[in-house]
Symmetry: C2
Subunit: 401 residues, 2 copies
Amino acid sequence: MEKVSIEEMVSIDEQLAYLKKGLADLIQEDDLRERLIQAGKSGRQLRVKAGFDPTAPDLHLGHTVLLRKMKHFQDLGHRVIFLIGDNTGLIGDPTGRNTTRPPMTREEIDRNAETYKTQVFKILDPAKTEVRFNSEWLEPLRFADIIRLCSKYTVAQIMERDDFTKRHKEGIPISMHELLYPLAQGYDSVMLECDVEMGGTDQRFNLLVGRELQRDAGQAPQIVATVPLLEGTDGVDKMSKSKGNYIGITEPPKVIFRKVMGISDTLMWRYWELLTDKSIAEIAAMKTEDPMPVKMRLARQIVADFHSPAAADQAQADFDREVREGREPDDIETVTVPPEAGTSLPKILVAASLVDSRTDAERKIKAGAVEIDGVKHTEFSLSVTRPMVVRVGKKWKRIVP
Amino acid sequence: MEKVSIEEMVSIDEQLAYLKKGLADLIQEDDLRERLIQAGKSGRQLRVKAGFDPTAPDLHLGHTVLLRKMKHFQDLGHRVIFLIGDNTGLIGDPTGRNTTRPPMTREEIDRNAETYKTQVFKILDPAKTEVRFNSEWLEPLRFADIIRLCSKYTVAQIMERDDFTKRHKEGIPISMHELLYPLAQGYDSVMLECDVEMGGTDQRFNLLVGRELQRDAGQAPQIVATVPLLEGTDGVDKMSKSKGNYIGITEPPKVIFRKVMGISDTLMWRYWELLTDKSIAEIAAMKTEDPMPVKMRLARQIVADFHSPAAADQAQADFDREVREGREPDDIETVTVPPEAGTSLPKILVAASLVDSRTDAERKIKAGAVEIDGVKHTEFSLSVTRPMVVRVGKKWKRIVP
């Protein structure tokens, strides 16, 4: 993990520039400046909240954009509240239509919270982090309290939320309970007396509700800061597991390293901005260098963040040996995956003439004889979302979508 | 109070006709017929709910239309649930803008409930009435329960309510908490396992919500029966205290009698239909008679309902003596109230030349020397909504709006 010395950037302008880097929205910058000044004078830590689902976490780099921005507040001495929205998790799918979303038990939620901690404390400083659950104040609410909470907002105000407006126009049903979530989230900010709330750009509306409810409760309205959605390794869609364009933070060093090396030079600058603590000026300076070593530094940095500097060394050595030092033939053939192969790895291997038959392919996959980008792959499915190097025994092919 | 003998109308058709008299809506008649048949066979009482505000009751005849319809179910052996919506009363005006609606205390609500009983048991049979408070099941609801409740309805469904649609179109704000009330009311029906819910026509939507929530809870959806709004003594606007066109059920016999005698012949038939147990056939038969004695029977009937047959006798005797037997001069002069007098009784008396000055008027009002329609009037305000006979000492005038 990179270390940032607060002593090096005492000026408010420098603090602001550090916090603003990569943000999508900041409401309001002047207000943040004022609170940073006040915090500097009084020594009071700002309280910076972000909310997370209570479902089993399996974070990828897309999620770390927000966590890293929370870390930036910690770097400047402030306090982060990692809020787990457990109350809604206990409900499951309230419509009862989605049986894949049964209510979670207290034990499951607590277990997930522990998993969260092991993952997010790779970025956040535990000493400056409060892990809270919103059931703490939502559970004791009574009907009368909820009526009072709801009375602070009009239907028109809630329906202004982009996705509600869109669904309303398109006649896609909006269930009444969905309208309560933004209010509950705003109430969280009142109860936690937040100075700042952060989230993805899709959370912008919900974060603004917190401002209104805090104002109503006589608190200074929180500053709202949103981070952009991170593009996946394909550089096109937002990073997500289902798209197969993700880099999971618990993936092996070798895999993370290879995946980072596979992104485009253009996307690399975006990753430097959103996935590291480097300043805009430092990133600008790197743009004058040869991109390949810069990308390798990025890959090392990311592996070091989620594993260790030693693991980064090893991942780089593996990469050099396997990919750059000729283990992968220079005259490697490129094969386009035929559409009918879909995500069936046996079919892909047959199409690429790396195996004799699908049976042969399945046997070799099971036996661990198939490597994708230098990593053993033992599953029968593979999403080819970018160029990948496939090895089966001594045969090598580059496959492209 | 009139007595209705159930033995006299055993047939389902007769029962239905009795219950349907005067209803604005009945959803669904077939369903009611079926339940009446089943109730007859099994001896099970139908559960018939109507909800009331927990505010201080001061009922007028407009409110009794609903109570009388509840009584009709009791006449047929069924059980009435007089539901007091105390949970919302405990909230007051949740927006905090209306300071005239502070939260009520438990003591106030209980005191109001007692007042309700003394008033409504003039019509309802206490032995077949349950008085319930919805705090019984709303108070224990948790946030998660309310989310679940709300998930049963979509925003579009709730916004279909006439007044919501209208306000939405006109850009008049609808507060979020208002959307919760119909759901809470529907939930009351689930908890009470209602067979029938009744209310004014303005309650139609809320009563229908109960059907949906009951269906969702695996209950047979309640039958919805609405009663029309009763026109006030002016025959134009709906009866209300603020319009001054009301007949309060706790008013003195003499006042009730006079006010009924002051309504139009047309309105009288409406009152027979909505304020008595007389059947459509009986009312039709009366239409062949001279209207004045029929109106007098109506006045007697209403006084007897809310006071006693003896009080009705006395009220009629007073009326005969004071109005019909010449205490009021035959050549009484009619004076139109000038607009600038408004509701100021002193100004009206000056305009009618019944006093020398406003000071004179105020002194005489305080001294109890002013009678309106034969009843002493000691307040300085008077809404002249219909012709009234005013006496100050030996001077008589008929004043008209």
